[in-house]
């Protein structure tokens, strides 16, 4: 065996380099290639192809996040180029200011109420409607488009419709007559946030239905057939086959709904006139806008943002663990 190897090595010798180069000439080249491979992987072209998106992520996502964290630890405000300003390090002062501000605390409570209503309702309705749409034979495209239209319509326009529906003299109160709440929906401290949560469920449902529809295409039909053979009803098939089969999609829906919900801004800004009534629908992002942009305190706004990020990460991690565990 060793003789054969030696012979092979001897026969390969001249091929190592033109004109019978030294047998050690390939060593540095190989070493250099392996270093490149260690950094860029076995297919460096992949890195080249991925680079534009990586740069995009760094410039558009990672840098602002890092900068926000930096701002939250400094007495920071936006200044004109060349203006001589001091932005000293202030440690946790901005976080202290945020955590002792009743308005900020209320906004975090409000967003929790929103998420508790919005996220489960979004996931449940999206799954039920996707399941129904998956089985429907006639007018399938029409129904899919119908559910998707609110999602692609500008919030400002849709908010106008909901103002018409839920204002004191609006359609909903006209239908309810004496059962209409007093104060009315959007100026009622107990109802304003739930109305906003319902609005967002309705507006975004089309997107989440699409996610579930895609997931439902991958559920093997054999599972339903065998369940039917075992005598399972439609509801039992839904509970025992569909729900477990789309669990990864459910995790995605819950996490995305949590993230987008935590970013709530347009609805309290427009639907309830700046977080009214009396701050009952103010969201952390709305308060960030007020403090950071209107009141010129981007450092405080950044601290709110960082706390919101941490909160969303924790909620998302818990959701993922709960939903994805077997």
């Amino acid at each position: 065996m060793s003789t054969a190897r030696a012979g092979a090595a001897a026969s390969l010798g001249p091929a190592d380099g033109p004109g019978g180069a030294s047998p050690t000439a390939g060593g540095p080249l190989r070493a250099s290639r392996s270093r490149v491979a260690a950094v860029l992987g076995r297919h460096p072209v992949g890195m080249v192809l991925a680079a534009p998106y990586a740069v995009f992520l760094v410039v558009v996502f990672a840098y602002p996040l890092g900068f926000a964290i930096y701002m939250s630890f400094h007495d920071y405000f936006f200044a004109a180029p060349g203006a001589a300003v001091e932005r000293p390090f202030v440690g946790l002062d901005n976080y202290r200011a945020v955590l002792t501000d009743p308005g900020v605390r209320q906004s975090f409570r409000n967003i929790l109420i929103f998420l508790v209503i919005n996220v489960p309702l979004t996931a449940a309705l999206a799954l039920l409607l996707a399941n129904a749409l998956n089985r429907v034979v006639h007018a399938r495209t029409f129904l899919r488009v119908s559910f998707y239209v609110p999602y692609v319509t500008a919030s400002v326009a849709v908010v106008g419709v909901w103002l018409f529906l839920f204002s004191s003299g609006g359609l909903v109160n006209s239908v309810l007559g004496p059962l209409a709440p007093d104060p009315s929906w959007l100026v009622n401290e107990s109802l304003a946030m739930p109305v906003i949560a319902l609005f967002v469920v309705w507006k975004q449902l089309g997107f989440f239905i699409l996610l579930y529809l895609a997931a439902l295409q991958n559920v093997p039909k054999e599972l339903y057939e065998s369940a039917a053979v075992d005598g399972a009803s439609n509801w039992q098939q839904f509970r025992s086959v569909t729900v477990p089969a789309v669990r990864p999609a459910t995790a995605l829906v819950v996490i995305v709904a949590t993230i987008t919900g935590a970013n709530l801004f347009t609805e309290p800004y427009l639907l309830t006139g700046g977080g009214g009534p009396n701050g009952a629908s103010a969201s952390p992002v709305l308060v960030m806008y007020q403090r950071g942009i209107q009141q010129g305190e981007p450092d405080v706004a950044a601290a709110i943002g960082v706390l919101l990020v941490i909160g969303v990460l924790i909620i998302s991690a818990i959701n993922r663990r709960l939903i994805e565990r077997d």
Binding site: A79, P81, Q295, A302
Partner: protein, 429 residues
Amino acid sequence: MKRILPAVVLTATLTLAAGCGDSGGGGGDADKANAAAGPITIWLSNNKEELAWGKAMVDAWNTQHADQKITAQEIPAGKSSEEVIGAAITAGNAPCLIFNTAPAAVPQFQKQGGLVALDSFDGAAQYVADRTGDTAEQYKSPDGKFYQLPWKSNPVMIFYNKQIFAKAGLDAEKPALSTYDEFLTAARKIKSSKAAQAAIWPAPTSEFFQPWFDFYPLFAAETDGKQLIQDGKAQFNSPEGQKVAEFWKTLYDEGLAPKEAYNGDSFNDAKAAMAIVGPWAIAVYEKVKWGAVPVPTSSGKPADQIKTFSDAKNVAMYSACQNRGTAWEVLKFATSKEQDGALLDKTGQMPLRKDLPAAYPDYFSKNPAYQSFAAQAARTVEVPNVPNSVAIWQAFRDAYSESVIFGKKPVPDAFSAAAQKADQLAAGS
């Protein structure tokens, strides 16, 4: 870990979608810039009438100054003009002049280093004093300098719909609205007669600027012209401030003023019998037969003694401007007697000029409806020019919403807490 890191970055950045930025570098020699002449850019309000005036003014300047042309454009769209201007200052691309700078935003723009002190131009302080008189003092910054040129005001008064008043059995020509009691009596009559859905419908929403169109005009009248903050101290937690608050609270408690915002213009749509607004709205109220009276006071002060909120918009020069010499000349040209007259004629808004009725007698004899606004323009109160101005207004609005509009807290308690916060903010902390 490989899966968590991208998730962390993605989640975090989605949450912080309202990204912030900064820039560095730039600057320049201020003295050299003050003397520099050349083309400049200005921003105008997107109000139709003001745009028409602005374009005519620019044309008039450009025909005489071929080498120092003005390029005018509307203030770019945004949630508010102040937000757009603040962003432009930070980016270093603000124009030379903005003919719609809100006095409440000036302290913030000044802190950002975005404004040029007009006093740095020869004779500027004298020019402002000669044109505007004593009223100009309200527009000085705490350092004693002018970072804004007082331009025009919209003294806030009570508009009333004559047809609704007649329908409610009220005197439509000389309605009794000078005291709080008279005002409330008229409001109750409007409501009980169902002549209109609301007696008056100021926006009950939470934006920081809403007090300018409910509490503040009446506060100025009740206190003979006190600002919200004076000498670094909040003034609204006073017997006068609480009288004004209780007046509005009665309107809300009795349903004479709705607690829900109207989606549109309630006065123009005849849903409200009265509105509290300045003369800019006259152009909008084409289909309403209206009259105007000064805001009420608790004791019914004579009309010629009543002060009110100015709702002024001013002109400021921004530090990104390179050709400041030209900008200063344009500023004087645009606020000359001739251009002020053109502004009055086209927009019905009151130039912040001394003795306005005497300056434009022809206009006011042709437009008698504007005479009361011209008289009122001499007795206006501005928002205080103090640090954290917007934050102070927001703190006040939150307290007002809580106590006056929604009645969740007694007015004295809410105002006392807000006054403490306002004092801290005014001190710059």
